[in-house]
Symmetry: C2
Subunit: 301 residues, 2 copies
């Protein structure tokens, strides 16, 4: 079993109330890969510049993440996002988004990437999400998006949503996409576009999972150490799809989807404990399973 | 067993995207009473004006809620709150707050109200909360407050918090009170003031319950019919304290507190389905227990 993830592999510059980091490893596909690899094989599809060093590459390869589809452009510069979070870290101010080599990203998947059973289309241009979906033979596919694409490419995004099984958005994006302020109705409207499942990310409040007849509430872990929110959503997706892929079922049922959502929350709760990928690079499967058990204790009554 | 609740009994004028109501029965103590009475005996302590009719009074008395401590002032006018909710109903605009007879509210509890095993101090002036707490013989007491008192009467509020077992605030108020943006740390700071338990209301995201060594996440019910948020927090408190009181235990344990928080969420989820008290006036114990079971289905994995 394996997951292919397509999206940004970046160098991020981040400032939070707890400090700052300059040009550290980041990007949606990076966070996804480092979470999913705890559960299954991962192929990362992306593009980086010459400023992307061997040390950065080794973060993937030393963990068994396939980098054959991670193209390095000689003379190019990597995607660079620079942002600052406010005091309560609910609001991020983007200071700069330099697409660089990512501007012309239009991958042709290698055979191994194409054949992976699971596909995750991280937050990229919806036309590109469609082209990648059509190349892939995955039997389970998901996508993430953002307000920028909802405003500037709604048609292509709706079409991309029709090609996947799982859509992951935050609650504001879900409302913006559907024009429906009531979240339960908004989620149902997204289901009407084709997917089986919608994951609604709610930041410090946890997440919710809707399917046609099912609702699952996923708590937020009560973190006292919360350093950098960057990557929480993509780590959630990595845990979710990585775990589902490891089960080897083409139509995961209610219990499998719920456990996957909790594994997603577990990974999302770890990544924010330190800057960038620092915490997840040190993470162990034992820590993941211990926190999974803690999540159960947080909700039973 | 019985609960005494002290707070506003009001006539509310509310406008939401779904319609409006003029001078309908409302107020914190009203919502609390109508929720708690499903579980135990309730005495309501408050003051109303001559504009408070026999029909309004019958809403309490016909449900067995004790109104001996609900004083009607001849020639006076009832507390009147007027507000408008925005499209997504996350933001309320207060259009008018007329205290009227409530301005001089300083109750002397009757013997039956004083002797109730449980006391809830709804959102009123913290000095008054202290005076009432000191009159009461309750072995379990809780209070609610709001940003206005945190800003204008922090000292008396902190002192009142030291006199109760359970504090109920929303997440913004919890942060404002403690100056701590991290919610888990904020909740711990409140516990340090004396209470055993803090309930953190998170509106459409549910709630969380913290004690010294325990955390419980309470989901939000995925309501598709959400008409008027007024009274959700007080109905939550009514379900919570009403259920706890019905157990007759002076030191409720983990499981009792958790079940109480879910009953609170159940009541909070019903009250918002219609304007004011309209939904809860029609509610049955069977509906409450059915939704309690649904809450369990929403979180198990």
């Amino acid at each position: 079993m394996a997951v292919t993830v397509v999206g940004s592999v970046a160098l991020d510059s981040v400032e939070t109330p707890f400090g700052k980091r300059e040009r550290v490893l980041g990007g949606a596909a990076t966070h996804f890969s480092l979470a999913a690899r705890f559960f299954t094989g991962v192929h990362v599809v992306g593009v980086v510049g010459q400023d992307f060093g061997d040390d950065e590459l080794a973060v993937f390869s030393s963990r068994g993440i396939g980098t054959d589809d991670l193209r390095r452009v000689e003379g190019g510069r990597s995607f660079h996002w620079s942002g600052r979070y406010e005091e309560d870290m609910a609001v991020a101010h983007t200071l700069a988004t330099e697409l660089n080599v990512f501007a012309d990203f239009d991958p042709q998947l290698s055979e191994v990437a194409r054949r992976a059973e699971t596909l995750f289309l991280a937050n990229i241009q919806p036309d590109l999400q469609q082209r990648v979906r059509r190349q892939s033979e995955a039997r389970l596919a998901g996508l993430d998006s953002m307000n920028y694409w909802i405003e500037s490419a709604r048609g292509p995004l709706v079409e991309a949503i029709g090609l996947v099984d799982v859509v992951s958005l935050n609650d504001a994006e879900m409302r913006m996409l559907t024009g429906e302020p009531n979240l339960a109705r908004a989620a149902r409207s997204v289901i009407d576009l084709g997917p089986r499942v919608t994951l609604v990310k709610q930041g410090p409040y946890g997440a919710a999972m809707y399917s046609r007849d099912e609702f699952f509430s996923i708590p937020a872990y009560p973190l006292e150490t919360f350093v950098d929110p960057t990557g929480a959503g993509d780590s959630f997706a990595g845990g979710f799809f990585g775990y589902l892929d490891s089960l080897g079922e083409s139509e995961p049922g209610r219990n499998e989807l719920r456990a996957a959502a909790v594994y997603g929350s577990v990974l999302g709760s770890f990544v924010v404990e330190d800057f960038g990928t620092e915490r997840v690079q040190q993470l162990t499967r034992e820590e993941i399973d211990a926190r999974f058990a803690e999540f159960r204790q947080m909700v039973i009554f």
